[in-house]
């Protein structure tokens, strides 16, 4: 009775699919001096983060392309239902005016934040030393795009209801200039300029994306609930599911990395380097929300808890 002895669908479509890890001198074939080969050797093969068998990594959720499409089809149907139901109920028109102004400043500009998360994930896709890691980053990239699209959709809806509030017009200037966003902007832009694959992974998945959840989604959700904005709160709640999945594979990859003793200090140093940026992002963003100080404290505590669960000593 043998099918249980066969590799799973996840194994078949995910394991050891990269050709770029076969030749340490010329990951992308051709001359070893090719710019791409030099780049990959420097930022992957010579990364401070080393493991003898990155291909041993497995996504704890075993997400495949098919599984991803199926599960997100269900989630998107749910979100469609939320949007339709709240549209039918004239939800946006019932929001307090001061909260609408807050949404214009601290919610709809988030599509820039999510675009940064998408681009940083895409870099990880291109650099990761095992296809099982690449796949996780691919789905993370898709998650960011999913929510970038939803924020854009909500921006249009809010613009339709409140044509004079600057929705669709002011998002970029808020992202670039509003103090609330400058912490997140610095954090994510620096992640995007981090080329070592290991540091990029730690900066993005151990620090930046969890900060996006704890320091942006959760405070926004709480504040929205306090303002009677159930739609924003429910959307944040659904978005958080994707973040939880990202943290599960992140934890698995950190755990595997810690098999190699020297990686403990490497990761701890990177965490120590990136944590102040995360704390600043939390503090500046939450300052723009009602009850911001309490929300920021809670967000920082959640980030600290996540880091401690990873078994990373230094902070």
């Amino acid at each position: 009775m043998g099918s249980r002895k066969r590799p799973s669908e996840y194994e078949v479509v995910s394991y050891k699919l990269h050709y770029r890890t076969r030749n340490p001198q010329a990951p992308y074939e051709q001359s070893p001096n090719l710019r791409m080969n030099e780049w990959y050797r420097k930022h992957v093969f010579n990364s401070p983060l080393q493991h003898p068998d990155w291909d041993a990594f497995r996504d704890p959720d075993e997400v495949t392309y098919r599984a991803y499409c199926t599960m997100q089809d269900g989630q998107e149907q749910y979100v469609d239902g939320l949007l339709n139901a709240h549209d039918n109920d004239k939800h946006d028109a019932s929001l307090p005016e001061a909260w609408v102004d807050t949404l214009a400043k601290i919610y709809t500009p988030a599509r820039y934040l999510l675009a940064a998360g998408q681009m940083a994930s895409a870099y990880l896709v291109q650099m990761a030393p095992a296809s099982t890691i690449t796949n996780c980053a691919v789905f993370q990239e898709a998650d960011c795009f999913r929510w970038l699209s939803r924020v854009a959709y909500r921006t249009r809806e809010l613009a339709n209801t409140y044509p004079g509030k600057g929705f669709t017009e002011n998002e970029r200037s808020y992202w670039e200039d509003a103090p609330e966003w400058q912490g997140f902007r610095e954090l994510f832009e620096k992640v995007m300029a981090t080329y070592d694959w290991g540091e990029c992974f730690v900066a993005l998945d151990v620090i930046a994306l969890p900060t996006l959840d704890f320091g942006f989604l959760q405070p926004l959700k709480t504040a929205a609930q306090g303002q009677g904005d159930t739609l924003t709160a429910l959307l944040c709640g659904n978005h958080a599911r994707d973040c939880q999945r990202a943290r599960r594979w992140t934890a698995a990859l950190v755990k595997q990395s810690l098999d190699v003793k020297t990686n403990e200090e490497v990761i701890s140093d990177w965490v120590a380097k990136w944590t102040p940026l995360a704390e600043n992002a939390i503090a500046t963003y939450c300052a723009g929300l009602p009850g911001g100080s309490e929300l920021a404290t809670k967000a920082s505590a959640s980030l600290a808890t996540f880091k401690s669960e990873l078994g990373i000593a230094k902070d």
Binding site: M1, G2, S3, R4, S8, E9, Y10, D59, P60, D61, E62, V63, R66, A67, T70, M71, D73, G74, Q75, E76, Q77, Y78, D80, G81, R241, Q244, R245, R248
Partner: protein, 403 residues
Amino acid sequence: MNAHTNLLSLRDEDGDTKRLFGPKGALGFPVAIAIDGKVYVGGQFASADSNIGVQTAAAFDGLQSALSQFDADMSHLLNLRTYYVYEGDEGKDVTDFWEKMTQVRLRYLADPGPAATALRVVGAPAPGKLISVDGVAVLAPGGKRIMPEDSWDWSIPTPFSQGWLVGDTIYLGGQIAADRQGAAVAVGEVEEQARIALRFIHNVLTEGGHDWSDLTTLRIGYQAGASPEEGRATLDKILAVVRETIPGPRLPTLNAFGVDLLYEGLMLEIDGISIKSRTMEVVPPGSHNWMQFEDHPVALLAGPELYIGGLSAPGGASLVAQTEASIDRLNVTLREAGLGYENLVKLTLLYAPDEDEAVAAVETITTALTDYIPAPGPVVSIVRVKNLPFPGQRVQLDAVAIR
């Protein structure tokens, strides 16, 4: 019969229980599978469309015939599930219809009879087929019939049972909020009806020496209403009562679907299976991401048996895509328990198609099942229900597998 009882307890070199398959039925799967002293019978329905009396007789002839493959008869049948289609007027007329159908059923049933559930659906398996029956028979003697004093009763005399205790398992018949004459109580009050039905379930459990923590599966047929959203609102009220009634953390697997109910004013019917030896939850990889009832386990192991709750892959995808994705999740669940498709013994698939998918729906589903599940496969019941709980959901399946 006794020879089979002994034979069916044998295990092969992998530790898998030996199983015997009945002949292939109308859906392309075995009409019955005998394993570990039990006979699982798949959905039996009439081959030709005709009136409810003729179709009921044909379905029960099929049930008898399936049992006879393993020297069993209706006296061994301890669990019976009836799905029937009624398209006439509501209210008293549907009760009259059920009573006429049951007059035919009574000709076949043993006394005492099985713990039974009867649900009004849209197609059994497809519109035109007015009744489908499946069940579980237990070959070994010694089962204890459970008929708590604090319970409801049927509107006509029947030999049905509220529950059967066999070994460490209780098969619960469908519990409703009705009085001793089969009339609905707490009419229109869904939460109160849920409390009453759960009280009756608890009475069956305690009379069999079980408690909530032993409850392994829970199936809720809820009033579907005029739309999936209306049905879901009713279900949410029922689930709130379930949460306040059944103390965690050991919760059963859950299967819920929108139907119409037998007696006028009823909003729900609940049945299930309770097993003392339920041991551990099975958490398939990726199941955190599935749209499901999050408090309830995807599947539970009970000794060599695996009970899988309502699996689905809701969304905007077509009937065939959702069927395939649901089967894939079934596979992941089986694998996590160290089992495979070949261990399946019973599979029930509920579907609620879009209109353009409805005509060929049963063929679409059986084709998908046979594409994925190697022959001979489990016994299968396919039932079209009015609606399902999640947005866009077209398919829901539950299953039993045995190592």
